[in-house]
């Protein structure tokens, strides 16, 4: 994978995530799609497993830095490195285990893998933050609400990833990833 191109695309997707998260929220449900996980799903489908896991760590750490965790009672915010990175690694690992049985060039496959991958990711985040809250870290955390939000966000991310697939699959050569569409028209080796 071309890491420089990846950084450029990741920058754009982080901006999309930060700028449109509130606007795309479904009413007051807290369910909103993840652009960054859509990108990660595409990389997990297309890249080598080690590359995909490193991309998951990079994108997860970026998410941990770009988004804050509010403390209880409006006492401030904190950046905790790790929760998103770990959640993305597990989500990616799950996608890697499933990608062999999927039609990779189909945007619907990307949508489905994003949905299930983000479910794993949400469950991991839920576990990490619930553990931290149980250990007495004063973060603002409502596990039941986050569980429901996670389910809604997973469905939403799945739908978004299907649409992103239409954009990202043609971008594969730019990212230095194998283009799955080439074989349809190219000469087979």
């Amino acid at each position: 994978m071309n890491w420089l191109a990846f950084a450029a695309v990741a920058w754009v997707f982080l901006g999309l995530e930060k700028g449109l998260r509130d606007a795309l929220e479904l009413g007051s449900t807290g369910a909103s799609p993840s652009f960054v996980f859509g990108l990660l799903t595409f990389i997990a489908i297309s890249a080598q497993s080690t590359t995909a896991l490193w991309a998951a760590i990079a994108l997860g750490l970026a998410m941990d830095l770009v988004f804050n965790v509010p403390l209880q009672g409006g006492a401030g915010t904190v950046n905790i490195p790790g929760p998103h990175a770990l959640a993305y690694v597990l989500g990616t690992q799950f996608i890697l285990s499933l990608r062999g049985v999927m039609v990779r060039r189909n945007p619907l496959s990307m949508g489905f893998l994003a949905l299930v991958g983000f479910l794993v990711c949400s469950a991991t985040l839920l576990a990490i933050f619930t553990t931290k809250a149980t250990l007495g870290v004063p973060i603002e955390w409502d596990a039941t609400r986050k569980l429901l939000e996670g389910l809604g966000s997973s469905l939403y991310t799945g739908v978004l990833a299907t649409l992103l697939g239409l954009v990202l699959i043609p971008l594969a050569p730019f990212l230095g990833l194998p283009s799955h569409q080439q074989r349809r028209f190219g000469r087979r080796a």
């Binding site: 920058w11 754009v12 982080l14 901006g15 999309l16 995530e17 930060k18 700028g19 449109l20 998260r21 509130d22 606007a23 795309l24 929220e25 007051s28 807290g30 909103s32 993840s34 080598q48 080690t50 896991l53 490193w54 760590i57 970026a62 998410m63 830095l65 770009v66 988004f67 804050n68 965790v69 509010p70 403390l71 209880q72 009672g73 409006g74 006492a75 401030g76 915010t77 904190v78 950046n79 905790i80 490195p81 790790g82 929760p83 990175a85 770990l86 690694v89 985040l125 990490i128 933050f129 553990t131 931290k132 870290v137 004063p138 973060i139 603002e140 955390w141 409502d142 609400r145 939000e149």
Partner: protein, 308 residues
């Protein structure tokens, strides 16, 4: 370039390090991450800000009453005057009590300068708690922790909970992370309203039990009524300059569970969705001013621009 075999070998160690950082590192040792966080937020701002502005322009926060520009200006002026008057009245009552209690003469500076800074919202600050806003104004503009943010008119939006040189994070009063807020249901133009402690419900409203009080003359209970204004009255947690700003209007009144004589009120802000505002007005007090017992005089707002 690191060879792929090395990348594969160091992956488990990296994941182990992340587990330690994510789960077992106390947050007091994570202050250094804030600098990287601030840098990352500045890097993504050129993408997120135009998108956020566009989205907020397409789906604005909206005001619940339809009005044109002239009416809006008049309403804002009226609210400004009302808030100042009520603040003055509350302050006068407090000072009167103080004088009575201490029996000393208190000299009061009646002019508290408040600088108002318009600042654009450039994105969501957290994906763990919805509604927390990233705002493009920071220490350079005089913003500090606990600076009060308002939306259209004098609608109380929230409080700054963290600040960097160029940006700050505002938690709206309707976000779960903001916690309880003390308020007063305004029965008339005096500060003799019903106290209540409101808690965000998570759906854009606040809910809480209103004070139970009876009319001295008739002994009839004084009940809150739908449509009455609710204003901030929480000197413990909010700066003095924020007192009597509008929280919203009473949307529903129902008997408290298990206490049918008491009322639970639901309050909705005058701005339909506080998390969708595209611009906030930060009310910056002069250093130490908010600790002084004085009334507020608002200076003309300045507009914040430039790249964060």
């Amino acid at each position: 370039m690191i060879p792929p075999t090395h990348l594969r070998r160091i992956l488990p160690f990296t994941i182990g390090l992340l587990v330690i950082l994510a789960l077992f590192t106390p947050i007091r040792y994570l202050d250094w991450v804030g600098w990287f966080g601030s840098l990352s937020q500045r890097l993504v701002a050129p993408i997120s800000h135009p998108l956020s502005s566009l989205a907020r322009w397409l789906a604005p926060a909206g005001k619940r009453v339809a009005d044109d520009d002239a009416v809006r200006v008049l309403e804002e002026s009226l609210e400004e005057v009302k808030s100042q008057m009520l603040r003055e009245m509350q302050e006068n009552a407090r000072l009167q009590r103080l004088i009575d209690e201490l029996n000393v003469v208190v000299s009061v500076n009646p002019k508290q300068a408040i600088r108002q800074v318009y600042a654009p919202v450039y994105g969501s600050a957290s994906d763990m708690a919805s509604g927390v806003l990233s705002v493009r104004a920071g220490r350079r503009e005089g913003v500090e922790q606990n600076t009060v943010a308002t939306a259209m008119g004098l609608q109380l939006l929230g409080k700054v909970v963290s600040v960097t040189d160029r940006t700050c994070t505002v938690v709206p009063i309707t976000a779960k992370a903001s916690g309880q807020v003390g308020a007063m249901v305004m029965l008339d133009n005096s500060t003799n309203g019903l106290f209540c402690r409101l808690e965000p419900t998570g759906n854009g409203t606040l809910r809480g039990q209103a004070e139970h009080r009876r009319n001295n003359a008739t002994a009839a209970p004084i009940e809150p009524v739908i449509g009455q204004a609710v204003r901030l009255s929480d000197t413990d947690r909010w700066p003095r300059s924020a007192q009597m700003l509008i929280i919203g209007t009473v949307e529903a009144v129902e008997p408290a569970p298990g206490q049918p004589l008491r009322s639970v009120i639901t309050v909705r802000p005058t701005v339909a969705d506080l998390t969708r505002v595209s611009e906030v007005l930060l009310r910056i007090s002069a250093p130490g001013e908010d600790s002084k017992p004085s009334s507020a005089v608002a200076a003309p707002p300045s507009r914040q621009g430039g790249t964060p």
